[in-house]
């Protein structure tokens, strides 16, 4: 009952490389974050998206800077894919005043309007209703901007999902609802929380297209995102994309993983999209191993630079508690 895409767009070689670049940037950044936490240099809660890189990478390769995203606590991959600069990102997760939110928001509330990172929320389901508002504004502005709302499979069971998808469809809003279905909501298996075998089927109830996508295949993500974004830019309304994937690192950094078997984890990790896509690029002659290694090195340098920059920044002054509550500072 879930739909099958009719016209499949394929990324050209340059775009494939661009997608790969985004994936590597996500993965290297994620790896560095976990390393820094392990070393005690960061103390924030961290929700790794290792394994889910294809999804935002494929989608972002089709987005412009002024297209917008609303994402969630497990959302740094979405920002990195959207080309958010790493220095203010790292300064933020290190709680420094030079962080993009002056250290007030931290990793769960990263925001960077210049690259379209509009909202990061820690409340399951809340990225979707707010994304609608940006999309409504785009319609009023008469631009062709689209807004992407990222969320998880568990989030598809909360009321806000339902209200947002229905409203977006009634109002024909240019939103792409992207569900990263990693099979778990915290420790709860998909089928113990979700009464339907494919989340994409819920789109039927909102009169919008819904697709189940191989979230480990950048080309499948690209094709579906392409259709959804085209549809949105053409003023035809929203699309629901359910991208099937896996979180390699559990729910939150330090997670014990006791709720899954070693076998299923191993099986999922064997499908790690990064080495597979790398090999494909080489096999298809899109890039050589050397070129890809150079790309990785370049990105590692960018990540390291961001970390060292962040660690050198100041902590915010206590006066910040009186600022940004309202536009006007609250008197001491």
């Amino acid at each position: 009952m879930s739909q099958t895409l009719q016209n499949r767009a394929s990324p050209d070689a340059a775009t494939q490389l661009d997608i790969y670049r985004r994936m590597i940037r996500i993965e290297r950044n994620d790896d560095a974050t976990r390393t820094q936490i392990r070393r005690g240099r960061i103390t924030a809660p961290y929700y790794s998206a290792r394994g889910q890189e294809c999804i935002p990478a494929g989608i972002s390769s089709l987005l412009n800077d002024d297209d917008k995203i609303c994402t969630i606590y497990r959302g740094i991959q979405d920002m990195v894919a959207k080309n958010m600069p790493l220095r203010p990102l790292w300064a933020e997760i290190c709680g420094r005043v030079d962080g993009t939110c002056k250290g007030k928001g931290g990793p769960m509330h990263l925001t960077h309007p210049e690259t379209g990172v509009m909202v990061t929320t820690g409340i399951v389901g809340s990225s979707m209703p707010i994304a609608n508002g940006f999309a409504w504004a785009s319609l009023l502005d008469g631009t062709k901007q689209v807004t992407v709302a990222y969320f998880g499979d568990g989030a598809s069971n909360i009321g806000a999902f339902h209200e947002a998808l229905n409203l977006a469809s009634v109002w024909k809003l240019p939103v792409i609802f992207v569900c990263a279905n990693n099979g778990f909501a915290e420790h709860t298996r998909y089928e113990n929380g979700t009464a339907v075998d494919q989340i994409s089927k819920r789109a039927i109830g909102y009169g919008m297209p819904g697709y189940t996508v191989d979230g480990n295949d950048p080309l499948d993500v690209y094709a579906h995102a392409h259709a959804a974004i085209e549809r949105a830019r053409a003023g035809e309304g929203p699309t629901l994309l359910e991208c099937k994937t896996f979180r390699f690192m559990g729910h939150v950094f330090g997670d014990a993983d006791g709720y899954m078997t070693k076998e299923e984890k191993a099986e999922a990790m064997a499908k790690d999209p990064l080495p597979l896509f790398r090999q494909k690029l080489i096999d298809d002659g899109v890039a050589t191993a050397e070129q890809l290694d150079a790309l990785t090195a370049e990105i590692e340098a960018e990540v390291n630079d961001a970390i060292e920059y962040a660690m050198s920044c100041e902590f915010p002054s206590d006066d910040e508690l009186r600022r940004d509550v309202f536009a006007e500072e609250i008197p001491a």
């Binding site: 007030k104 209703p129 409504w136 504004a137 806000a160 940004d324």
Partner: protein
Amino acid sequence: MSTDTVEMVKMNGLQAINAALMEAMEADSKVLVLGEDIADNEGGGVVGVTKGLSTKFGTDRVKSTPISEQAIIGAAIGAAMAGYKPVAEIMLMNFTTVAMDMIVNHAAKLRFMSGGQSQVPMVIRTLTGAGNQTAGQHADFYEAWFAHTAGIKVVIPWTPADFKGLYLSAIQDPDPVMIIESGKTLFVPMDTPVNQGPIPLGKANVVMPGTDLTLVSYGQMMFTVMQAVEELGKAGVSVEVIDLRTISPWDKETVLASAEKTGRLLVVHEAGKNFGPGAEIAATVQEELFGKLKAPVGRLGAPYCSVPFAKKLEDAFLVQPPAIIAEAKRLAAMG
């Protein structure tokens, strides 16, 4: 019209809000209106506050919505962050309960959490108040919840002039403002300046000067208060009446100055007394004016129960003039 005579017209709160919305939408193309049944095809709102807006400004800017309060506030938040000034209606205050996440965790916090990068200039309109036998789920005053929540302003006008002026300010305010339309205040006509301009948020209105006691109230309770005050006047108790207008941030300066002058303060509201708005005022005043008061700060509010259905119980539930008179006299006799 000369500069010193103000041309007046009789209108009610509903008409005043409508005029404010018309004026704001006319002057600023960024102003949007959304909510259930608010466009003219749907009757221009269940009590008609938004009548004529969609006809005049189109259904792109004036949108009726599904019954989806989270989606309503969410859409308003996103549009506000994108540079618009949405005025979102939650039909009745009890229905804010289904949108609390959007209001509290998002609208009120996004500026702070983003370190000032996000701004959410939106107005949330909502109606409430007992007196029409709508019982337990349609009449609550929860302004104390929102006053306790950092990042959102809370306004409860009484007069049509204030509705007009406070709406004009709220719509242009750079931050989220909740305006609570309090029962009868929508329907009672009063003299209103034809060209009523913006009235600043956060400023109380000293409605009547007095010497023996300061009485602070707001919303439809002001009607009850004014009845009581008239009686008190006849009984020789001179009351300084303050209409608070904005509950958060409230006008400490005006209240403290008055309470210091009269030496006595009584706060009256329709919200529950227990952990209610009056508690903050009393707690602040007892601290700031310690040793200077002739009587403790008095509070009157709803009893600790849901709004009852039967008219007789609803009357007993609401603070009535005799209770105000008795409490005012008790305080006035002290010190």
